[in-house]
């Protein structure tokens, strides 16, 4: 017992020791009447009014005037608070806010989705692990500590934030890694690789060039460098005059050095030896000249050339005589069929017989040919340079106007044709509902089992395909009513399915033909084509075709209808006027302005079933589509790598691999920061809450 008492006392003492001088707080109770002697609960039921509080505030000196004023205003105001919104409305607002938030969050996928849609090739599964050997640390990640010693060690490690399972990366390092997303890291790596490769290329190149022993090579290099430098210097004068001045000083220095030395003065040992040879050897003379020129260049004073001088130089350049650029005029003067260009007489050919043409040509053929080529050349020059012709040319131009007019017409026509084509195809594109039709499967009751069946499948539907083209054909034959259906412009098979025929130009040797020989030739050709008059036949043929295409007047007058009829009576004028129907002219023929060509605009039925009738969707014009068809993709025409590249599939999957859906953390970098931020906020909130509780 005593012991126990002792223990208790000592315990009490200890307590006293711990808090030897603790001040005892006064207890205060919330009550209206505060008595010095007792605590009572009177007035606890009463509510505290604002006025009660206000009264004390007014008296206290510490409270600011502002709060006092606010409180007074509050007391005087009679307004009540608004009722809260009803449940439906609050919920609607909540939903709206939540929806906005979610859509904003989901929108961050937009770039990735677009990128994937545009990608030429997608390889699934998306994030494949590297198949190489893994690090030991990763393999042993599942290992757990057991013995107390190990625990002690790991506690220490944890304390210093050292990595435990994967000792290669500390958490700090990991965070820094995560800061850069996978994609960015990839891009960065690629950049670095590229830079490194470029550097190594340049180094290798420099080394290689340095090793070259050829003096000539270095001479050329130096010359190029000098030229480059001069160009740069010109720019420098404009942009950076101070730098240019310094360069000038350097140049001046080199000039001085050059003047002092005997380097390029033809006084060295080499120069002397050359001087002996110079008498006989052309190259030696040239070399010496070059050296002297070098000296001259180097010792010349640098003067910044003014703009006027530049211009004069350019003009001088332009006035190089024309014959320098002339192509070699190669032609067989005898054979009229071998001439590439139309003579200016030919448009009138239709009214003159072939015989006359030939005789007329015989007389001044050579002169004409020469003149023609000159004109041609001029035309070409004008085309290329787009310059206003000089005065000399203008005189000539009057003469050649007819020819040039013809040529320009020809060119215009071509451009028109192409424009027309594109317009039509655009019109075709706009027709609604086409797109949908294309996607449809043609579902029927025929079951296809073999290739033969597929052929039959073709035939079954073919009649329809044939019918279509026949319709415009008959219309053309009748040559009445409506222009043929131009809206559905056919893509010509010749354009689509064949490679463009290349005109092979064989170089004719410019042989000098004697007058006699020429005459002989002409007579031989005449003899050979004595029986058949090819040209007039051709002209007749063409005019017949043209006539067939021309719209005829349809006479619908019924004699005797509404008036007297009989032999010798003509229907009156009003009737003829009213019932003779003129149809609109068809679009101009393609060969309208090509006198020596007939272009058939008929459609061949056998090929038509293989032709594309409308411009397919993604293409803007026929030329685009044709070019897409024209490039072959097979290994017969392309190298292996090209074929591999061109035929690579859009989606590649790995055999037997599960394709997981996308994982947000792999693709969106900002997500990480967002999550960590949120977590941090959460923790800080918790902390503050705990603090509040503790207080």
């Amino acid at each position: 017992m005593q012991n126990e008492n002792l223990v208790q006392i000592s315990f009490f003492n200890q307590l006293m020791l711990v808090h030897p001088r603790k001040k005892q707080n006064e207890r205060s109770e919330a009550s209206v009447q505060v008595s010095e002697y007792f605590v009572n609960a009177e007035g606890t039921g009463d509510k505290v009014n604002l006025s009660d509080l206000l009264g004390t505030v007014e008296k206290t000196s510490g409270a600011s005037n502002k709060t006092k004023k606010q409180l007074r205003n509050l007391q005087s105001s009679k307004e009540t608070l608004e009722l809260p919104l009803n449940k439906q409305q609050t919920e609607k607002i909540q939903r709206g806010i939540a929806y906005e938030k979610t859509t904003a969050e989901v929108s961050c996928w937009k770039n990735i989705i677009l990128q994937n849609q545009k990608a030429e090739q997608m390889v699934f599964p998306l994030n494949q692990e590297s198949s190489g050997p893994k690090r030991v640390e990763q393999v042993v990640a599942g290992w757990k500590v057991q013995t107390p010693l190990e625990q002690e060690i790991f506690r220490l490690l944890h304390g210093s934030r050292q990595p435990v399972n994967d000792p290669v990366l500390t958490p700090v390092e990991e965070q820094s890694l995560k800061a850069m997303s996978l994609e960015e890291a990839k891009i960065r790596r690629a950049e670095l690789q590229k830079a490194r490769a470029l550097q190594s290329y340049y180094e290798a190149k420099a080394k290689r060039e340095k090793k070259i022993k050829s003096k000539k090579y270095h001479k050329v290099q130096n010359k190029a460098k000098r030229k480059d430098f001069l160009k740069q210097f010109d720019e420098m004068v404009k942009t950076n005059p101070e730098g240019a001045l310094e360069e000038l000083k350097k140049m001046e220095l080199s000039r001085m050095e050059e003047r002092m030395s005997l380097k390029h003065q033809n006084s060295g040992k080499w120069a002397k030896s050359k001087a002996i040879m110079a008498k006989y050897d052309d190259s030696a003379r040239k070399a010496m000249q070059e050296q002297l020129q070098m000296n001259k260049d180097l010792t010349q004073k640098m003067v910044v050339p003014s703009d006027d001088e530049h211009e004069s130089i350019e003009e001088g350049l332009e006035t190089v005589p024309d014959f320098v650029n002339d192509p070699e005029t190669v032609i067989d003067p005898v054979n009229p069929w071998m001439r590439g260009q139309l003579t200016h007489e030919e448009p009138e050919v239709s009214c003159v017989t072939a015989e006359e043409v030939q005789t007329a040509e015989e007389e001044n053929e050579e002169e004409e040919i020469i003149g023609e080529f000159e004109r041609k050349r001029k035309l070409r020059q004008a085309d290329e340079e787009d310059l206003i012709p000089t005065e000399e040319e203008q005189e000539e131009e009057d003469e050649e106007e007819d020819v040039s007019e013809f040529n320009t017409l020809f060119r215009l026509m071509r451009s028109e044709k192409t424009r027309e084509g594109s317009n039509q195809t655009r019109g075709g594109l706009n027709t609604a509902g086409e797109e949908d039709e294309e996607g449809l499967l043609s579902e029927g009751q025929i079951r296809v089992r073999s290739i033969e069946d597929l052929e039959v499948l073709d035939e079954v539907v073919e009649p329809r395909a044939i019918e279509e083209p026949s319709a415009p054909q008959t219309a053309a034959a009748e040559a009445t009513s409506e222009p043929p259906h131009k809206k559905k412009r056919e893509i010509n098979l010749k354009e689509v399915l064949t490679k463009e025929a290349k005109a092979v130009r064989l170089p004719f040797l410019p042989t000098v033909v004697d007058e006699e020989e020429r005459d002989e030739q002409i007579s031989i050709i005449k003899e050979a084509f004595a029986g058949d008059d090819v040209i007039s036949d051709f002209i007749k043929d063409k005019s017949r075709q043209e006539a067939a295409g021309r719209p005829a007047v349809v006479d619908l007058t019924l004699p005797g209808w509404g008036e007297w009829g009989g032999v010798g009576l003509k229907p009156p004028r009003w009737k003829r006027k009213r019932f003779r129907i003129k149809t609109a002219p068809p679009p101009p023929r393609q060969d309208q302005k090509l006198p020596d060509v007939i272009i058939s605009e008929k459609r061949t039925a056998s090929v038509a079933s293989h032709q594309v009738s409308q411009l397919p969707f993604p293409f803007q014009n026929t030329a685009q589509f044709e070019s897409s068809i024209r490039t072959p993709i097979g290994s017969t025409w392309n190298t292996q790598t090209v074929v591999k590249n061109m035929t690579k599939p859009k989606v590649v999957t790995k055999l037997g691999a599960i394709i997981e859906p996308m994982v947000k953390e792999d693709f969106i970098k900002s997500y990480y920061t967002l999550v960590t931020l949120k977590k941090y906020c959460y923790i800080s909130c918790l902390c503050s809450w705990y603090c509040g509780v503790a207080c």
């Binding site: 989901v106 699934f124 009751q445 399915l497 068809i629 993709i633 097979g634 599960i658 996308m662 994982v663």
Partner: protein
């Protein structure tokens, strides 16, 4: 004197081993290989024909159920395992390569309404008409041990669908409300409802894993976010949607299978108009599932066919049917993008190839190159009428064809009628509606 010597590197013409194919020096001079386009056109035509000839999509039929299949699900980690639930409450686990049933469980009384696999592939959940959620082990019990669920939760109402979270231990069920459950608890941690409806399907978004969408019986599709207290938004269509599926590669697109024979792809950011209307079925569409690549989806319909649609095209690229297949209730696309599974009324599960003419198994490099080349050729010449005709040809049974024609006629009549109404009314009073706009009744915030 300079002597030039011919020198050849044997590497250029000697094979490394005798098994290598001979090196063939090629000359790519275009004049030596004329008529590129006609030759390629012929090749393309042949490739198209061969593609149709080799199009044999049907792989296998798994029979063993004693009632119509109501739901199928894939194993999360194994390609060769699937589970199916039938209308008599039976659940079967199948091995696909061996085409046999591994395990049969009498899971529920009445229909098995939904099955979902846990993301780790250790267990799966079933819900049924008997108002229970049951969790089962993937591993079959030992010999002589009774099949017992790991966990059973008794709910207040019938559950009609279930789906599991992609990475966490929560799952969602639907019935009278959409409930989110923690695997460790026997009561839902949250339940959403918006008006009094019953829901037929609920799916987690596989990418944005906190997003949910469900199909309700008031013809609406409702969006949820599990982090929010209320549902997000709902879109009401003209007829009810049966099921929906999220695109696994594009977070904000989902496709719903509707009673009006169409499928609708929506962008959740713009719910007022569907992105694409997919039509080709001739009866109600009952199920839809995306391919794991997110490029295509497969749909099952009451018209006894399944169809494969590209995700951004209005019409299907493929239709599968057999004489014996009845109304297709459920359909799934395998996780390796190679196969499609369909479960139908007549108690069979069918395995189809996703690409009808694809050669299965390992391909040699030359085979691969040839298939790629052929595919590219068909793509290049796809607009040429002969190629297109052959590529598009599909055989359809007579009654479906008839229905299709009928439908087309009806659509045409409706269009004509509308046109006439527009013609005879004040200009502007009958607005021109596009196909996409026709089917959405309202978007409710």
């Amino acid at each position: 004197m300079k002597v030039k010597v011919l020198c050849r590197n044997p590497d250029d013409y000697v094979r490394e081993t005798t098994r290598d194919i001979q090196r063939v020096p090629r000359n790519y001079d275009p004049t030596l290989h004329p008529f590129e386009v006609p030759r390629e056109y012929t090749r393309a035509l042949n490739a198209t024909k061969l593609e149709r000839v080799f199009a044999k999509p049907f792989v296998a039929s798994l029979d063993g159920h004693r009632d119509g299949i109501s739901c199928i699900t894939k194993h999360a980690k194994s390609l060769s395992t699937i589970i199916s639930g039938a209308c008599d409450g039976e659940v079967k686990v199948w091995n696909l390569p061996r085409q046999e049933c591994l395990r049969t469980v009498q899971a529920h009384e009445g229909f098995v309404r939904g099955i979902c696999s846990r993301f780790c592939g250790t267990s799966f959940f079933t819900v049924g008409d008997d108002k229970t959620i049951k969790q089962w082990n993937w591993e079959a019990p030992g010999y002589g041990v009774r099949e017992e669920p790991i966990n059973t939760i008794l709910g207040k109402a019938v559950f009609t669908g279930i789906d599991h979270h992609q990475r966490e231990g929560t799952f969602v069920t639907c019935g009278q409300t959409v409930d989110i459950w923690d695997e460790q608890r026997s009561s839902p941690i949250r339940s959403f409802s918006w008006g009094v409806d019953s829901f037929s399907c609920v799916r987690y978004n596989p990418v944005e894993t906190e997003l949910l969408a469900s199909c309700a019986s008031d013809r609406s599709v409702v969006l949820y976010d599990t982090r929010e207290s209320a549902p997000l938004r709902k879109v009401i269509m003209q007829l009810r949607s049966n099921t929906l599926c999220w695109n696994p590669m594009e977070a904000y697109y989902f496709t719903c299978a509707n009673e009006d024979y169409n499928l609708y792809t929506y962008d959740i950011r713009h719910l007022d108009v569907p992105v694409t209307v997919h039509m080709d079925h001739v009866s109600a569409v009952l199920d839809v599932d995306y391919s794991p690549t997110g490029r295509e989806f497969v749909s099952a319909s009451f018209d006894k066919t399944i169809r494969i649609f590209p995700k951004d095209k209005g019409h299907s690229r493929e239709v599968y049917h057999t004489k014996r297949m009845q109304h297709v209730i459920c359909v799934r696309w395998s996780a390796d993008n190679k196969y499609v599974l369909s479960g139908s009324d007549e108690m069979n599960i069918r395995l189809w190839k996703a690409n009808a003419s694809e050669k299965l198994g390992l391909l040699s490099a030359r085979e691969k190159a040839a298939t790629h080349y052929n595919k590219k050729l068909i793509e290049k010449f796809q607009h040429h009428p002969q190629v297109r005709r052959i590529a598009r040809h599909r055989h359809l049974p007579g009654d479906i064809l008839k229905q299709k024609r009928e439908l087309r006629e009806m659509r045409e009549a409706r269009r004509r009628k509308e046109q006439n109404v527009r013609k005879h009314s004040k200009p502007g009073s009958v607005p021109l509606l596009t196909e996409k706009e026709k089917h959405v009744v309202a978007v409710v915030e």
